[in-house]
Amino acid sequence: MENKKILLFGYGHHGKFIAQGLVDDGFDVQVVESDEKFYTQALEDGFKKAIKIDVTQDMALINLKPECYAQLVCVMDDEHLNVFLTLSLRSLFSQSYILAISDSIHTTKKLQMAGANKVIDLYEVSANKIHNILNRPVATQLLEEFVVHKNGIGFKELIIPEDSFLHGLMTDDIDLSEHGVLLVGLIDEERGHHFEFITAGINHKLDSGDTLVCIGDEEKLKDFEELIKKGSV
């Protein structure tokens, strides 16, 4: 991702962990808090640039220049404040990408109505997980390990560069498993900017600029990323 700047509202239950995870992944995180306790905590944890503002004040929000950030993440502990903040941000910055967390069933809908691009419902994802554990225990466990790159295996997005050997090939004709990676799905720009699973049964024509989502050993994925830059193999 080009712009790795994230504006994170809230350094409570969720914010603390998300902020640290993002920093580990090399993101530039700007923490914003309205609560004194959490603000001090953020400073202690090394977020020296953390700002304490009253998020209900529009001027304070405008001064943060949210338009310079790739994503605005609303994870304040106070869910009322979180909904209000989402609504304020949406009304002030219609182009921004807003991600919010919901701590209850009722809040999810409110956040969506307030204009969040994506709402992650704490209970919904957990309920899914329980269902998965009950029905596919092994697969669930493994998938989770893939997501957090445990055991070295994980997902990766790769954009097909110009002049890549993949350019012009059909997905049915290529077998990436010899490179130690599996193609899970892709964004075929010809068919619109949305993700499609390889198992949907469509034979895609690969072009430069398409995004591949692969799973594999991290080393192998890196090697593969280098490999696809080449014109031929």
């Binding site: 092994v138 697969a139 989502v213």
Partner: protein
């Protein structure tokens, strides 16, 4: 003599076959959860009903000899066997003789099995005198037709049905809770009937041609107080009529009192009865879910997946939440899952139980986990933990899966920020959307795939993406195409549900 008794006891104690058969019979006759008990019950009920039908039919029609034979010998034979078996499994005399011997040896006193034998016999005799055992015994006798009065024995066969009907047992159980009230009432009834009976006898014995004895008088009093009033005996003097008025009034009062006692006993017990029915129902299924707590998590779980689970019970110890769960249309009972007695009600022996500890309190969840594991290691526990510091405690308690809602949500947000394209993919996979299910193919259901190489398996044909093999504790990601599938392997694939089913049908498996 002592030695003979002891050696018999020791022989029985040592005999595995004896102990096994005894415990099998005991389980079969007394344990409601035994899978074969229902066949025994059905047989006995069938015998009872047929023998009663034969007797009723016989009143006006001649019956063939083989039916008589069936009624007199076969039914009685089966019933006597059942009676003897019940008597046999009631207690273990041999075990008490052995423990007595050990105790005497320990204390250095003279060993005498006679006392223990007597106690054991007394125990059996006590059992024989219980109403249900008496009914069983009397039901053995066939209704000997030539002697009309002996036909009464068929009534005992009908009474024997009581043992096999749950609702009658519950009825008596409910009434026994109101023993005090009912006894008071009965005593009062007895008192009034006797007083009124004696009074009418004294007043009208001379003048009333229908009253010849005290029995007639008491009979009249009972018929009047019960408001039945046949009218075969009626008072003729003003004094007698006054007594009638008084006992009719007290009769009405007493009937309404009795009715209210019984009704209140039932309404008090109604929810309990309902709950025990729910538990009974779920115990019959092979595997079921126990969901502890009806909070946001449970609500969300049921809202999304409730329709996919048939066998479950929600245990909630707050009345208002339990009511809410019932209002939402779910099977819920008002119980505290952290209590030993609560979980003990479920059949851990014959069913696979999975407990979801979803209450908002970690302490509560850990306690439920421990409680479940202390009852049976077989119970699978999926516990919710809110605090990361609790994870190790849950592991110690023995939870099979630990779920941290905060962590799950945080990692989803993390993925959504860092890998937005993949978020969709992972979210779809996690929620099991139809095109992107990651699923497991178990070799134990698909014997045909064992021994084949990955290359030979038709993943491509079924449009499945083969990801790897879980072998024991290891996961082999993207194994070479010459890898051979072994017994016990779990293959991890991604694809549509129909692809998966097609693949399974190719190898005629139900994995």
């Amino acid at each position: 003599m002592n030695k003979i008794l002891l050696s018999i006891a020791l022989y029985l104690h040592a005999s595995k076959a004896y102990r096994q058969s005894k415990s099998f019979v005991r389980d079969l006759l007394t344990n409601a959860n035994n899978p074969y008990k229902k066949y025994v019950d059905i047989t006995i009920i069938f015998l009872i009903i047929t023998s009663v039908v034969i007797l009723i039919y016989e009143v006006k029609h001649p019956v063939p000899a083989w039916l008589d034979f069936y009624d007199i010998y076969i039914v009685s034979f089966v019933f006597s066997i059942e009676y003897l078996l019940r008597l046999w499994v009631h207690n273990d005399i041999s075990e008490s003789i052995i423990s007595e011997q050990k105790e005497s040896h320990f204390l250095g006193r003279a060993f005498s099995p006679i006392g223990v034998l007597g106690e054991g016999m007394l125990e059996k005799l006590k059992y024989m005198l219980t109403p249900s055992a008496l009914i069983d015994l009397l039901a053995i006798f066939p209704a000997y037709r030539p002697l009309r009065v002996l036909r009464i024995f068929v009534l005992f066969r009908v009474l024997k049905l009581l043992r096999y009907t749950k609702s009658i047992n519950q009825f008596t159980e409910v009434l026994s809770n109101k023993k005090f009230e009912l006894l008071t009432l009965l005593f009062l009834l007895f008192f009034i009937v006797m007083t009124a009976g004696i009074a009418i006898y004294v007043m009208e014995e001379q003048t009333n041609p229908n009253i010849d004895s005290l029995f007639d008088a008491i009979y009249w009093a009972l018929i009047t107080i019960s408001t039945v009033g046949y009218g075969d005996i009626s008072p003729v003097t003003p004094e007698g009529r006054t007594i009638s008025i008084l006992i009719i009034i007290s009769g009405i009062a007493m009937i309404s009192f009795a009715t209210s006692v019984i009704v209140s006993a039932f309404s008090e017990k109604l929810s309990e009865l309902k709950e025990s029915r729910i538990i009974e129902q779920v115990n019959k299924s092979k595997s079921f879910l126990l969901v502890c707590g009806y909070g946001q998590m449970t609500k969300m779980f049921f809202r999304h997946y409730g329709s996919e689970y048939d066998n479950y019970i929600i245990l909630e110890n707050a009345q208002d939440r339990m009511d809410q769960a019932r209002k939402d249309g779910y099977e819920a009972i008002h119980e505290d899952a952290s209590r030993y007695e609560t979980l003990k009600k479920f059949d851990t022996e014959h069913s696979d139980i999975t407990i979801l500890c979803l209450t908002a309190s970690d302490v509560e969840n850990i306690y439920i986990t421990l409680n479940a594991k202390s009852i049976s290691k077989k119970i699978k526990v999926i516990a919710r933990a809110n605090d990361a510091s609790m994870i190790s405690k849950f592991e110690y308690a023995g939870a099979d899966h630990i779920l941290m809602p905060n962590k799950v949500a945080n990692s989803m947000i993390h993925t959504a920020i860092t890998q937005p394209t993949m978020y969709k993919a992972i979210h779809a996979i996690l929620t099991g959307k139809s095109i992107a299910r990651i699923d497991e193919i178990h070799t134990y259901g698909c014997e045909d795939i064992i021994g084949q190489t990955i290359k030979e398996l038709e993943f491509k044909r079924a449009k499945l993406l083969f990801m790897g093999i879980q072998r024991g504790k290891d996961f082999i990601f993207n194994p070479s195409s010459s890898e051979v599938v072994q017994k016990g392997d779990i293959l991890l694939v991604m694809g549509r549900e129909i692809s998966l089913e097609y693949f399974k049908s190719l190898y005629n498996g139900e994995c």
